[in-house]
């Protein structure tokens, strides 16, 4: 091969304090290809890309762009070297137009008008060339996430990027939007651009990349041609052991109705109608999966059921009415009724990050009698013993009750939350995004625990934006869009495409 790689990394290492985030990483990305980087959370993918984009400085190692050794001390240098980055969280000014966002930072001269004019012309050209159509004068705040992502890509292209890095680009997209993105990426590749796609979703790697590098614990464990590998082989490389790709579960044995929601409505502080006449039912011994793109009312539904958002409508638990407003509507009374809740965001809600693991185990249940020594004092020793047991049963690593929650990996943090909620032996378990930012090994484990609880005859309401997860766990699937339940499907009678349409608000029965 006499062609220079578009990017070559040689022996890149980077440590943060005691943590070796990248260890002696070498990688070659050929021009005009889509190169996937896959790995669990905390494997060092984002660190590596931050080094390439000039956010971090590598402790050692070299970067070659198109065969030339290049120093990238900051993102300006990265842009000058033709590298563009599309972040997971968009960096756009909400109340600026698309055009204004695109020229932000690269205006020529003191006055805006000539820059905007020039950008407009260039944008039209780019849009035609790559099929990237966006209304240039639309305000960012009026655009959907799929569009915002296009704006980010256009921003990079406008800065003459030949190499595009996309960090978990499909996290916020519907399957349909993701397909569109992949079509755009394919087009960009065909036009000679080089694309690096960071993701933890095996399916995306298989669908779109030409080559794939696998990272594990800061090291690059393999780089292979996508065509010559399989999802199972990649998963094994990521985790370091064999992984069951499918959750084993027996058919559900649904019993009596446990949770009944009838005509639930929520209007938030800004007067936005978040839940519109939501009705659903979860029976004992079954998992109802609630699919939908995030922000379509699922969070609000969990908050209402968890007792910390006011709502109107009727909710009953095993026939008993649950108060939705007033002093009875709080997390404590919900827990007393037998509702446990694994919240969507473990760092913001599920855990106190500064508390040790043992202090997080009674969280929400700190009034429970088994955690008290007497009427005045809590029994910290009993809590610690209890925590040690929970950590062992739920395979939390390291199994150290005195370690702060912030010191655990995402997967182990989530196991602490799941352990706490499942071990209360609830009648109804609310689960929000149980495996967001959780590594594959832990996903497997958490899924097994949820199914085990179901098999004990408990009712489970599962909210997830990961369709694979919904498909794998649910006994019935309801889809939410814009605060409404769009429809209910049985997992074996539907597919990702049909659910994707419902998630996009298209409720054709034929779908």
């Amino acid at each position: 091969m006499d062609q220079h790689p578009a990017i070559e990394l040689r022996s890149i290492s980077k440590a943060f304090g005691m943590v070796q985030a990248n260890k002696d990483i070498s990688m070659r990305v050929m021009p005009g290809t889509i190169h996937g980087i896959i790995g669990e959370n905390g494997a060092g993918k984002s660190t590596l890309m931050s080094i390439l984009y000039g956010f971090y400085k590598a402790d050692s190692g070299e970067i070659f762009i198109n065969g030339n050794k290049t120093l990238i001390p900051d993102s300006q240098a990265a842009i000058a070297a033709g590298i563009g980055m599309v972040f997971q969280h968009f960096k756009l000014v909400e109340n600026f137009t698309v055009l204004e966002n695109i020229i932000l930072g690269v205006e020529d001269g003191r006055f805006l008008r000539p820059s905007l004019k020039k950008a407009q012309a260039e944008l039209t050209q780019l849009a035609n060339e790559y099929d990237l159509h966006v209304e240039p004068n639309a305000l960012i705040e009026d655009l959907g996430v799929g569009m915002l992502q296009r704006v980010e890509i256009l921003k990079a292209l406008y800065r003459k990027a030949d190499i595009l890095i996309l960090d978990e680009p499909t996290g916020v997209l519907t399957p349909g939007e993701a397909d569109q993105l992949f079509r755009i990426l394919g087009r960009l590749r065909d036009e000679g651009k080089t694309i690096i796609l960071i993701t933890h979703k095996l399916r995306e790697i298989m669908d779109i990349t030409d080559t794939v590098s696998v990272m594990r614990r800061g090291e690059m464990t393999a780089t292979v041609k996508t065509a010559s590998t399989s999802p199972e082989a990649l998963a094994e490389l990521m985790v370091g052991r064999k992984v069951l790709m499918k959750v084993d579960k027996a058919a559900a044995q649904p019993g009596d109705s446990v949770l009944q929601v009838i005509g639930l409505n929520v209007t938030d502080e800004n007067g936005v109608h978040r839940l519109k006449d939501v009705s659903l039912e979860v029976r004992a011994g079954e998992i109802l999966g609630l699919a939908g793109v995030s922000g379509n009312g699922q969070s609000e539904l969990l908050e209402v059921l968890g007792g910390y958002r006011k709502a109107t409508g009727t909710v009953t638990l095993s026939g008993e009415k649950i108060p939705l407003t007033g002093s009875g509507a709080n997390g404590q009374s919900r827990r007393n009724m037998g509702i446990s809740h694994v919240p969507e965001d473990r760092q913001r809600e599920g855990l106190i990050m500064e508390f040790a693991a043992w202090e997080n185990i009674p969280f929400g249940y700190h009034n429970a009698p088994e955690f008290q020594r007497n009427r005045l004092l809590m029994n910290n020793k009993a809590v610690r013993t209890e925590t040690a047991g929970s950590m062992e049963r739920f395979d939390v690593r390291p199994p150290d009750p005195r370690l702060r929650a912030s010191g655990f990996s995402g997967g182990n943090q989530q196991k602490i939350v799941v352990a706490r909620e499942i071990e209360r032996n609830p009648d109804l378990l609310l689960v929000g995004q149980p495996t967001r930012g959780v590594d594959i090994g832990a996903i497997e484990f958490i899924h097994q625990q949820i199914i085990a609880l179901r098999d004990q005859g408990k009712a489970i309401l599962l909210v997830s934006v990961e369709l694979d997860e919904i498909m794998a766990l649910s006994d019935r699937i309801a889809v939410m869009f814009d605060g409404r339940i769009m429809g209910e499907r049985l997992p074996h009678e539907t597919d990702v495409k049909a659910l994707g349409l419902l998630m996009a608000g298209i409720a054709k029965e034929a779908a």
Binding site: M18, G331, E349, L351, P362, M378
Partner: protein
């Protein structure tokens, strides 16, 4: 692990901060043409080298323990109670009323009564800003500051009118009855055969303050309430999820905080002045903020920090008394200590953290 061991966090860092504060204080003293070594010697001699000096140091420290604890407990709920001064002033009013108008048979009963009444008055003064914060979202920093001024004005009004005995020129209450006079440290320590200067204001309230440290320690780390307070302080969103009521936590925490500040009055009003004068708190409420910061909101840290500030107060008074160094310089020294131990904590912490990590790394590499 990736963090500092406790002994570095709690001892080394404050010690280095203090040394830096001393260095800059020394430079300031030297720059006005005085001898910094002599100045420090006077401060130490005057506050620590005699039981007389200790008496004053401990008296000030007692005030600062109460206000430092008050600020600390609020910090645990991430509430910034700047109103310790006003709450202490109101506590003084409570103590004065109960000492003047109830015929106490013995000082022990009077101490209990005065503690409760001072705490109640302080808590009541904190309750209004707390309510406004919990129910109306008015920022507690703003409201507690304002309540300091209102407290001062209220005391002015009462002390030149209702509470002032007739035919007295000074805005102060009458002397409290003899039965309410607290035993000073000379008498208390004398019971154990420990000689202690007679002429100091330090009194039995010191032991109440130490008991308060222990009670607050138990409260914060061993009770459900303390657990809820710390949870709320660390993460409001998580507390909401757990069903911990923000209104309840804000109200209860501020009531405890105000009560602690109010209890300071058993030391300065009942123990020392034995009557209520204008501006009785003398800024102890504000020093409490520095004490809480330096003590990392831990009751034991508060105790040590209060001793340090007691030393600075007493040593500073000696300095002003026996040299030509102006009183303002004492304030400069106190401010430098607050600056380095409180505000500039990160400046010392970051390099020590880096140093420690580098050393750890070398160790692991060597292994």
């Amino acid at each position: 692990m990736n963090r500092l061991p406790r002994w570095i966090d709690l001892i080394i860092i404050p010690a280095i901060s203090l040394l830096l504060a001393m260095l800059f204080s020394g430079l300031a003293i030297w720059s006005i043409g005085e001898d910094p070594f002599n100045a420090f010697k006077i401060m130490i001699d005057g506050s620590l080298r005699s039981t007389y000096g200790w008496g004053y140091t401990l008296y000030y420290a007692t005030n600062f323990i109460f206000t430092g604890l008050a600020v600390s407990i609020a910090f645990h709920a991430r509430l910034f109670n700047i109103g310790g001064e006003g709450q202490a002033v109101l506590g003084g009013l409570g103590v004065a009323l109960i000492c003047l108008y109830i015929p106490w048979p013995h000082w022990t009963l009077a101490l209990v009564g005065a503690s409760i009444c001072g705490a109640l008055f302080g808590a009541a003064w904190a309750a209004i800003p707390a309510f406004l914060q919990a129910k109306r979202g008015s920022h507690i920093v703003i409201t507690t500051i304002m309540f300091n001024f209102i407290a001062a004005a209220l005391l002015n009004f009462l002390l030149i009118g209702l509470l002032k005995p007739a035919k007295v020129m000074e805005p102060a209450t009458a002397k409290f009855p003899e039965a309410t006079n607290l035993p000073n440290l000379h008498e208390v320590l004398g019971l154990f055969g420990i000689p202690f200067s007679k002429a100091t204001p330090a009194n039995i309230s010191l032991f109440v303050a130490i008991a308060a440290c222990i009670v607050i320690w138990v409260l914060i780390w061993h009770t459900r309430l303390g657990y809820a307070i710390r949870s709320f302080g660390q993460s409001e969103s998580a507390a909401k999820y757990a069903g911990i009521s923000s209104t309840k936590i804000i109200m209860i925490t501020m009531l405890i905080s105000g009560a602690l500040a109010g209890m300071m009055a058993i030391n300065n009003v009942m123990g020392e002045a034995e009557r209520l004068v204008l501006n009785a708190a003398e800024g102890a409420g504000f020093i409490g903020i520095a004490v809480a910061l330096m003590g990392r909101s831990h009751p034991f840290g508060v105790f040590l920090a209060a001793l340090l500030f007691g030393f600075l107060y007493q040593g500073g008074a000696e300095l002003a008394f026996s040299t030509s160094i102006p009183r303002e310089m004492v304030v400069v020294i106190q401010s430098l200590v607050i600056l380095f131990t409180g505000a500039l904590d990160g400046m010392v912490r970051a390099p020590i953290e880096r140093l420690y990590l580098a050393m750890q790394k070398q160790k692991t590499v060597a292994e």
